[in-house]
Symmetry: C2
Subunit: 200 residues, 2 copies
C-alpha cells in the first residue's frame, strides 16, 4: 500500500535546465526548468542545502529516569525563542554522525558514549533539498560548550512527559523537534527499537 514506487514514474519531473537565482551568505537558490509528466515545461524554485542533523540526547538517571538535553534559541524568521533538540548543518564532506557529535559538543558541551540513527526528515519538500538526520545519544558526559560567534542559546533539561505535553499544547512548533518527539515516544514506549553503536 505504502510503497507504490512502481507508479512513481508517472509523477516524475525531469530537469531540462538549472539556473542559479541567488547565492546569499546563507541561502543558495535555484530555478530549474523541468518537464512535467504530461510533457509540458514549468519552473521549480528551491534552496540547495548541505543537510543537517538533530540529536535527541538522553540523560539517564541511576533510577532509570530519563531527561532530554534541549535548547532555547531565538529564531529570527519566526520571531520567537524556540524549544529545540540540538541540531546543526553539516560541514562540507562531513558525515552525519560526525556532525551530530560536533554539534552536541559545541552547543551543549555534552559528549555521548553511544549513538543510534533513528530516521530522516525533509522539513520543506516543496522548496528545499534539506534533509535532517535524527540521532539518539546516550551515555552523556558533561564538558564545555563552544558556541559559534554570534550564537546565543540556552541549554535546559526536559522530561519526556514535559516535552510531549508541550507538543500537545502548541509550545513546541519546530518540525525536527516534533518529529523527534514521535521517535522518543515510540522508543521509550518500546514500540520502535534503535540500533545503538559505540561512539567512533
Amino acid at each position: 500500500m505504502i510503497d507504490t514506487s512502481s507508479a512513481d514514474a508517472a509523477l516524475r519531473e525531469e530537469c531540462t535546465q538549472s539556473r542559479e537565482l541567488l547565492r546569499g551568505r546563507l541561502l543558495h537558490v535555484f530555478a530549474d526548468e523541468v518537464r512535467l509528466p504530461d510533457g509540458r515545461l514549468t519552473q521549480r524554485e528551491y534552496i540547495r542545502h548541505p543537510g543537517a542533523v538533530a540529536i535527541i540526547p538522553l540523560l539517564e538517571g541511576a533510577d532509570g529516569s530519563v531527561q532530554l538535553v534541549m535548547e532555547r534559541q531565538f529564531r529570527y524568521p519566526v520571531g520567537r525563542a524556540v524549544l529545540e533538540f540540538p541540531a546543526g548543518k553539516r560541514d562540507a564532506g562531513e558525515e552525519p554522525l560526525a556532525c551530530a557529535q560536533r554539534e552536541l559538543r559545541e552547543e551543549t558541551g555534552y559528549t555521548a558514549r553511544q549513538w543510534a540513527r533513528a530516521g530522516q526528515l525533509h522539513p520543506t519538500v516543496a522548496y528545499s533539498t534539506e534533509s535532517i538526520d535524527i540521532w539518539f545519544a546516550r551515555g552523556l558526559q558533561r564538558g564545555e560548550r563552544a558556541l559559534d560567534v554570534g550564537e546565543f542559546l540556552d541549554v535546559l533539561t526536559v522530561t519526556p512527559g514535559e516535552l510531549l505535553a508541550a507538543c500537545r499544547d502548541g509550545l513546541v512548533t519546530d518540525s525536527k523537534t516534533l518529529v523527534g518527539a514521535l521517535w522518543l515516544q515510540n522508543v521509550l514506549g518500546g514500540v520502535w527499537t534503535l540500533d545503538w553503536q559505540d561512539a567512533p
Copy 2:
C-alpha cells in the same frame, strides 16, 4: 521548565534594517540586519512565506476502523515521490480552515462534515517564516477533485498502522506528515483530545 519566556529577552534579536534579496515566482527572500543580544550586528537571510495548512482526513468505517486519505506527489527538490497528508499554501487573506477545506477538496475531492485544529509547525525555523496549521477532518464525502494546472498527484488510503510503520522504516520523510503521525498516534490512542467543530 518548558515555558522560560521570561528568559527569552536575553536571546532576542532586533531588526535594524530589512532588504529584499529575491522576488522569485515562488520564493521571496530577505536579508535583515539584526542586533544580537550582545549588541553586535549580523545578517539573517530568510524566506517570507504566506503560511500553509496540512489535513489529516479520517475515513471512518461503519465497523469503527479508520483509514487516512493521503497523497503521493513528486517533490522536485528532494527528487522523489513523497507520501504526504494533503496540504497547501494559504491564499492572501484566507483563513486556515477555509484553506484546509479548499485544499482537501481540490487535491482529493473530499469534503468533510467536521474539522478540528490540532496544532502548528514551523518546518524551517532557521530560514523561513512558514507556519503550517494541522487540521483533522472527518465525516468525509467523496467528490471530484480539481487539481491546479501542472499539479500531478496520486490519492491513496492508508491505515494508521501502515503510516506509523512507514514513519519508523524511513518511508515517510516529509515533516508535516511525520508531525501529523505524532498527532494521529496520540489522538487515536486517546492520549490527546481534539475539539471538533462542524464545517462552516
